[in-house]
């Protein structure tokens, strides 16, 4: 009798599972559906799975064979250093313009304080979504075809990119404000612009500064390749050398891009912590 109970307990323990019947069916069904979709995608895209999994090892071999040793003298050339400055200028200007254009759009597209939910809200949302949806390289190509090669096209593309990036973060931030001051202002008869300036802006000022600095950081990352499609800056050197198959120079340029992005990330991190301390 006693032995039977122990056996029953042991048996019960063995059949324990984290998922009970209905949930297990759902979760396994979902996993199965995703796997089937992935398998079909691999078939549809004609991807060789073994080649895909072995690609990282191959990448090491390719980098060692073609890009090593990087031609570091090329990236210390004055012309190239000037292009780094160009990249910095483009990202900074694009960041500023984008942030300033993103603030009104974010105000429009924040549901809680939007000036008009039937007219301005869709305009703001659509503006931010379409800026975000189109990749910065496509913006660059479009602007190059309208404005010609050069940094103006790059700045315009980065501006669009920053509107999309900062606009989303800004409107999320506005939607999370404390509604008390907003209600108080509305009750006192303020119009929506006054509500935004006196009730919303003081609450989000510090967060906006942080987001603006982060936007510059991301814009710098994007600015490194904007030149690849004719927007000026480091990307233009990258394109030229890729097309001339100067692989050692390409390696050096990619290294310099990584270094500059790290520097930008460090500066933005430092600035953001300084803003948070001064709050």
């Amino acid at each position: 009798m006693n032995g039977q109970t122990t056996a029953a307990i042991v048996k019960q323990k063995l059949t324990w599972s984290r998922y009970k019947f209905p949930e297990s069916l759902w979760s396994f069904g979902t996993i199965l559906a995703v796997l089937v979709f992935l398998a079909y995608s691999l078939h549809f895209l004609k991807i060789d799975v073994l080649m895909m999994l072995g690609a990282l090892g191959k990448l090491g071999g390719v980098v060692a064979a073609r890009f090593y040793p990087p031609e570091l003298t090329y990236v210390t050339d004055p012309g190239y250093l000037a292009s780094i400055l160009d990249t910095l200028q483009m990202s900074f200007l694009g960041g500023i313009l984008g942030v300033f254009l993103a603030i009104p759009l974010a105000w429009f597209s924040a549901w809680n304080v939007s000036p008009h939910r039937a007219i301005f809200f869709p305009i703001g949302r659509l503006g931010v979504i379409s800026c975000r949806a189109i990749h910065e390289t496509i913006w660059t190509i479009l602007f190059v075809s309208v404005l010609g090669f050069g940094m103006l096209a790059g700045v315009s593309a980065l501006t669009m990119f920053c509107i999309g990036f900062a606009g989303k973060l800004f409107s999320d931030e506005i939607e999370a404000v404390d509604m008390g001051p907003v209600e108080a202002m509305r009750a006192a008869g303020a119009n929506s612009f006054q509500v935004f300036i006196y009730a919303v802006v003081p609450q989000v000022r510090v967060a906006f500064t942080g987001i603006a600095i982060y936007t510059w950081d991301v814009a710098f990352r994007a600015a490194t390749v904007v030149g690849f499609f004719g927007g000026g800056g480091m990307g233009w050197y990258l394109k030229r050398n890729v097309q001339q198959l100067e692989n050692l120079r390409v390696g050096a340029i990619i290294l310099s891009i990584i270094a500059m992005v790290l520097v930008a990330e460090f500066i933005s991190g430092w600035l953001r912590s300084a803003v948070n301390r001064a709050k």
């Binding site: 984290r18 895209l45 690609a55 390719v62 160009d86 200028q89 189109i134 990352r221 390749v225 990584i258």
Partner: protein, 277 residues
């Protein structure tokens, strides 16, 4: 934000000191704004004034004329768009899953509380995360096109490599913030390393990780739409062809379909994330 500074005994400072402090703060703000504006002016001068050939743009009429070319939409391109759109969607999905696959070891090594080796492997994982995020997807695609050739494969790999940084960073942070008690309990009852991971860590991090992966998938659709520009297939390739054959209506059509795909992805990811959390 006016802050009244107080002595340690609780009394307010002398009014002169108050005014002095405020003046100092104002001076500092003025300096910061002045420096910012000067820097902006320098950038403006460098990019817009010196580097732009206004005569080539052709004034306001020239710009409007070039913009007008995009306004006609070439609907006849529609049947050719279907396969590249599906390809783009699939490239993003496969790339995201492959990126998750690659980020597992990186997140494991890069989380300070579970990393097997803090002196070598932990900094290495952190370094990999930074590299993955700081190299742009176009550059990744270029490297992979030169490594494995043209086609969808380099696009998938580039998306995967670019996703590793973000996914593994968030995952590592989630692992660092877990409640240690279940892990200790499983260890105390004799669970091995795998059981500790599977029953102690995974249930705690998986909502965060899944939400991050869905978010990254949403971004990856956007990225996979441009992979074709450097030879990796999908909608980008079609965009590139239309642009090179000066079929501006076709370009608008491709952009419309990219927009549609991305809005669709955003809606799906919104509901999926709601279901997960």
């Amino acid at each position: 934000m006016a802050i009244v500074q107080c002595h340690s005994n609780g009394l307010p400072l002398q009014i002169d000191t108050q005014i002095g402090l405020r003046r100092k703060r104002q001076m500092r703000m003025a300096l910061i704004w002045g420096g910012f504006l000067l820097f902006a002016a320098w950038c403006l001068n460098g990019t817009i004034v010196e580097d732009t050939d206004w005569s080539r743009i052709g004034g306001r009429n020239g710009v409007f004329a070039s913009l007008g070319r995009y306004l006609t939409i070439d609907w006849t391109l529609l049947p050719e768009l279907i396969v590249p759109t599906i390809e783009t969607f699939m490239m993003a999905s496969v790339g995201t899953v492959l990126g998750c696959f690659f980020s597992l070891p990186v997140a494991w090594l890069g989380a300070v509380n579970v990393t097997p080796n803090k002196t070598i492997l932990y900094p290495l994982a952190r370094f990999l995360m930074v590299i993955s995020r700081s190299v742009h997807e176009i550059v990744w695609a270029l490297i992979f096109v030169s490594a494995v050739g043209l086609g969808a494969l380099p696009g998938v790999l580039a998306i995967a490599m670019r996703s590793v940084g973000f996914i593994s960073k968030i995952t590592a942070e989630a692992i660092e913030n877990i409640d240690a008690k279940p892990v200790e309990a499983i260890r105390a009852t004799g669970g091995n390393e795998f059981q500790v991971m599977y029953y102690g860590i995974l249930p705690q991090i998986y909502p965060v990780v899944l939400a991050t992966v869905i978010f990254e998938w949403d971004i990856n659709i956007r990225r996979s739409a441009v992979m074709g520009l450097v030879g990796a297939g999908g909608l980008g390739l079609l965009f590139f062809r239309q642009m090179n054959s000066f079929n501006y209506g076709g370009v608008s059509m491709v952009i419309l379909s990219i927009l549609l795909l991305i809005v669709l992805g955003e809606i799906i990811s919104h509901y999926l994330r709601k279901a997960v959390i």
